[in-house]
Structures are given as structure tokens and as C-alpha cells.
């Protein structure tokens, strides 16, 4: 790309498609950035703890630069659309939790129904496209407080991600990060072979 992509485009490019979950993640990520007054992460200035592995997390990665590979995205498998974003430089953290809606908007319910189908007829595909457009506009324009609760929290920053030496597994010969290997006498064994 030849200049900075808007956050929404970044998230869609990263995720591969547009969906309501991703849009919610974009709203949360943009809010966190504004609330903490930070730029997207370059080298672990930011840290995100995500309590779900659903679509919104890809927006957190793409927009905020808190990524799985960089080690500043910590996944807690709680099944909750909750994102805690922390800034080392500002020494601040905000916990953003998607509001629970006992009765989802009918458009979302129908969209989910269509998304779960293995294949769609042409009218259904058009209906799904129209529903997504309607959901898209609503999610991106609705006041943030109608979608999320948030609060600034005390945050104990963990150490930055460590870089460990790679050792060779004595069974398969493949390289493995040293702390993940099992030491059997003088020999390393990787988790796959152990």
C-alpha cells in the first residue's frame, strides 16, 4: 500500500471480509486508541488482552497493531467480547466490554441465520448483502456507549515478549523454542515428540 489505510480498510484487509463482529472490533479498537491517546503499536508500546477468539480480535490486531506474532496480544479463552488495551508509555489501561443484548436486532438475527447456511439462493445472497449494509451503517454510526461499557483499570504490565534461543529436537530434528522443549538428560525433545 502506498499510504496509510484507514483503520476500517486495514481490518477488512486483514480479516478478509466485512462482518458485524469485525466492525464491533473496529469500534472498540478505535475507541481504545482515542481514549488512551495512542498511535498504533510499533514495538509493544501497547498490549491487548482479548477474552475471545472471534472476528473482533482481528480488528484489534489490524488497527492497534497488538498482534499474536509480536506477543502483545494475550488471549484468554473466556468467550467474552471484552478487550483490555493498555499503553506502557501512558501507564494506562482501558477495559472495553461489549454490552449484552437479550434481544439482538432482528437484522443481526437474520444475518446470522443466513451466515450459518451452507449455501444461499440468489435472493438470499442479495438479502444478506442488504442486511450487512444496514448492520454496517448502524454499527458504525451508533453512539459507542450503546454498544460497549468501558472503564479505566489498574494494570500490571507484564514483561515484553521474550526472544528465546532455538534448540534442536533430538527425535525429529526440528528446531524448537528452548523453554518449550523437554530436557531428557542432555537431549532436547520438542512438544510434538514428547
Amino acid at each position: 500500500m502506498c499510504k496509510n489505510m484507514p483503520p476500517l480498510e486495514l481490518a477488512i484487509q486483514f480479516h478478509g471480509h466485512i462482518c458485524p463482529g469485525l466492525l464491533m472490533g473496529v469500534r472498540a479498537a478505535e475507541f481504545a486508541q482515542k481514549y488512551l491517546e495512542v498511535n498504533p503499536d510499533q514495538d509493544e508500546e501497547l498490549l491487548a488482552i482479548v477474552e475471545t477468539n472471534s472476528c473482533g480480535v482481528d480488528a484489534i490486531q489490524a488497527v492497534l497493531g497488538c498482534t499474536f506474532g509480536k506477543g502483545n496480544l494475550i488471549f484468554k479463552d473466556y468467550g467474552k467480547n471484552v478487550y483490555t488495551v493498555a499503553s506502557r508509555e501512558k501507564n494506562r489501561a482501558v477495559r472495553i466490554a461489549q454490552k449484552y443484548l437479550a434481544q439482538p436486532h432482528p437484522d443481526n438475527a437474520r444475518y446470522r441465520e443466513l451466515s450459518c447456511k451452507d449455501s444461499l439462493t440468489e435472493p438470499e445472497a442479495v438479502e444478506k448483502e442488504n442486511l450487512l449494509a444496514s448492520i454496517f451503517e448502524r454499527l458504525m454510526t451508533i453512539p459507542f456507549e450503546e454498544l460497549f461499557n468501558w472503564q479505566e483499570i489498574e494494570f500490571a504490565f507484564p514483561e515484553k515478549a521474550q526472544i528465546y534461543p532455538t534448540v534442536q529436537c533430538s527425535i525429529c530434528g526440528e528446531g524448537v523454542m528452548e523453554p518449550r522443549a523437554v530436557l531428557n538428560g542432555q537431549l532436547y525433545i520438542c512438544p510434538t515428540c514428547a
Binding site: 500500500m1 502506498c2 499510504k3 489505510m5 484507514p6 476500517l8 480498510e9 477488512i12 466485512i18 436486532h105 432482528p106 437484522d107 437474520r110 440468489e122 445472497a125 442479495v126 438479502e127 444478506k128 448483502e129 442488504n130 450487512l132 449494509a133 444496514s134 454496517f136 451503517e137 458504525m140 454510526t141
Partner: protein
């Protein structure tokens, strides 16, 4: 209970379309707008076949899209995938004829003229037929904002316009070309996904109020234009952009159809 269930007859089979409907508004282009008590909304291309008011049943007859023969229109698309060109690179555009950004390969392109207006200079463009499109190369000299327009006179009068950006410029206050029917951006800057984009329809240079403006995008699944907008007293209307890629706006007045390609930039 005042609401009704709406059924649609498709190929002789009746199926439930929407429950609890409390608003039915027949619109243009054989569209019927439905809204129910749960807030669901649908737009279907159909006609009302029967209303059984005692049984709270409305039965629609589906109108096949193919049965609605659209007028063909011209439109322009850039030969780039990121919304603008870089200074010094070949600026290439493609011209299509069809409907809803779906080219009709049998469409006649004879008699088509193309022009570019840049920095106050108007130049004629050479057109080359290539597969389903006509291509034009605007060269490497352009810089800033350029307006392209194409004209074809058959039994109907067709115009297509586009604004292209060469380099990373931010422009406002773009001037209309002065076509008999023209769609112009209200406030040109970088059009982005997730933002509202405004256009104005001008007829002989004056705002055209109450005109239907259709809008579509390149990846739509719909055979018809997915968006039907109406201009206000200033000839203006707006659309929230929810799709990737370029958008096409189209307006028809009498025997004249004019399109404007919104090239999204990022």
C-alpha cells in the same frame, strides 16, 4: 391485531416472506418496501397479488429481475486497485456499457467520445476496444485531479464521468463539467468506507430535485441497483458507503442517462 404475514409467490410456490408486517410501501422500479413490528425491513421486487385482510395475509407475486429490461448505461473504472494513480505512471481507464456495473458484451460502443479535463485543459482521448471494455490511456503527464467524461449518442444520450486522483492530493470545490445531465460530488475528498458520501445532480447546470439516483458497487450480488436514492430540493443526496471497491451512481432524466464513478481511495 392489525399486522399481516406477507407471502411471496415464486415460480408457483408460496413462501412466507415476513411476519407481523405493519408497513407496505410500493416504490419505484416495481419495488415494495416492507417493515414489520420487530423492525425488520425488506425491499422486494414484486407486485401485490392478493390481500386477505380477514386472515391477515398479503400475497406478493415475485417479478423476475431479468423480466425488467434496463436501459444500458456507460460507466468508467480506473485500471488501478487502490483508488488513485501515482505521478509518472500510466493513467489507464476502462469504459464499460451495461447495467449495475455488469458489462453487456454485445453493447454497441460506436460513436463514443471521451475527454479529460485537467488543470483547465480539455483533451480528447483515444479509445481502444479490449474485450468487454474500451480502454483509454491518459498518459504519464497528469498530476492532481482530473475529470474524465464520455459521451455516446444512440437512441438515448449517455454520459459517464469519473474523477481521478494522480498523486496524493486533497481537493475540494470541484467544478461541474457542464453536461446536460451530470452527477457531481458535493465535497470531493477521499471517499472512504464507513463514511457518508454526498452527490448532487445537475441538469443543464442547475440542481435537479426529486430525481432518483441509483447506486451500486462492483461486488454486489444484486442484479438490480442495490441503492435507490432521491435528490432533495438542492439536487443532493447521500449514501453511507458499506462496500469495498468503487461505487457507481446513475441518474436518468428523459432519454438521458448519466453516471458518476466514485473511485474510493485509501
Amino acid at each position: 391485531m392489525c399486522e399481516a404475514n406477507v407471502y411471496i409467490n415464486r415460480d408457483g410456490r408460496e413462501e412466507l416472506l415476513m411476519e407481523g408486517v405493519d408497513r407496505i410501501i410500493p416504490g419505484e422500479d416495481q419495488n415494495i418496501f416492507l417493515e414489520n413490528v420487530f423492525g425488520e425491513r425488506r425491499l422486494v421486487k414484486a407486485r401485490i397479488k392478493e390481500m386477505e385482510l380477514v386472515r391477515h395475509r398479503i400475497i406478493l407475486e415475485e417479478i423476475k429481475e431479468a423480466a425488467v429490461k434496463p436501459h444500458l448505461e456507460l460507466w468508467l473504472e480506473p485500471d488501478t486497485n487502490h483508488g488513485h494513480f501515482h505521478p509518472g505512471e500510466d493513467v489507464r481507464m476502462k469504459l464499460f456499457k451495461g447495467f449495475n456495473m455488469r458489462p453487456d458484451e454485445t453493447a454497441q460502443m460506436e460513436g463514443t467520445e471521451a475527454f479529460v479535463l485537467s488543470n483547465g485543459r480539455l483533451q480528447t482521448l483515444n479509445l481502444h476496444k479490449h474485450h468487454e471494455a474500451v480502454e483509454m490511456n491518459l498518459g504519464q503527464e497528469l498530476d492532481g485531479l482530473a475529470q474524465i467524461y464520455v459521451h455516446q449518442k444512440e437512441d438515448r444520450e449517455l454520459y459517464a464521468t469519473a474523477l481521478i486522483e494522480v498523486g496524493h492530493h486533497h481537493h475540494h470545490g470541484n467544478q461541474p463539467l457542464g453536461l446536460p445531465l451530470e452527477i457531481v460530488p458535493i465535497d470531493y475528498s477521499h471517499a472512504r468506507l464507513g463514511e457518508t458520501y454526498g452527490i448532487q445532480v445537475l441538469k443543464d447546470g442547475h440542481p435537479l430535485a426529486g430525481a432518483e439516483v441509483k447506486a451500486t458497487f462492483s461486488e454486489t450480488q444484486s442484479r438490480d441497483y442495490p441503492h435507490h436514492l432521491k435528490t432533495d430540493e438542492e439536487g443532493k443526496t447521500r449514501l453511507f458507503l458499506t462496500a469495498r471497491g468503487n461505487y457507481l451512481f446513475s441518474v436518468t432524466d428523459g432519454d438521458t442517462t448519466s453516471t458518476f464513478t466514485l473511485i474510493k481511495s485509501f
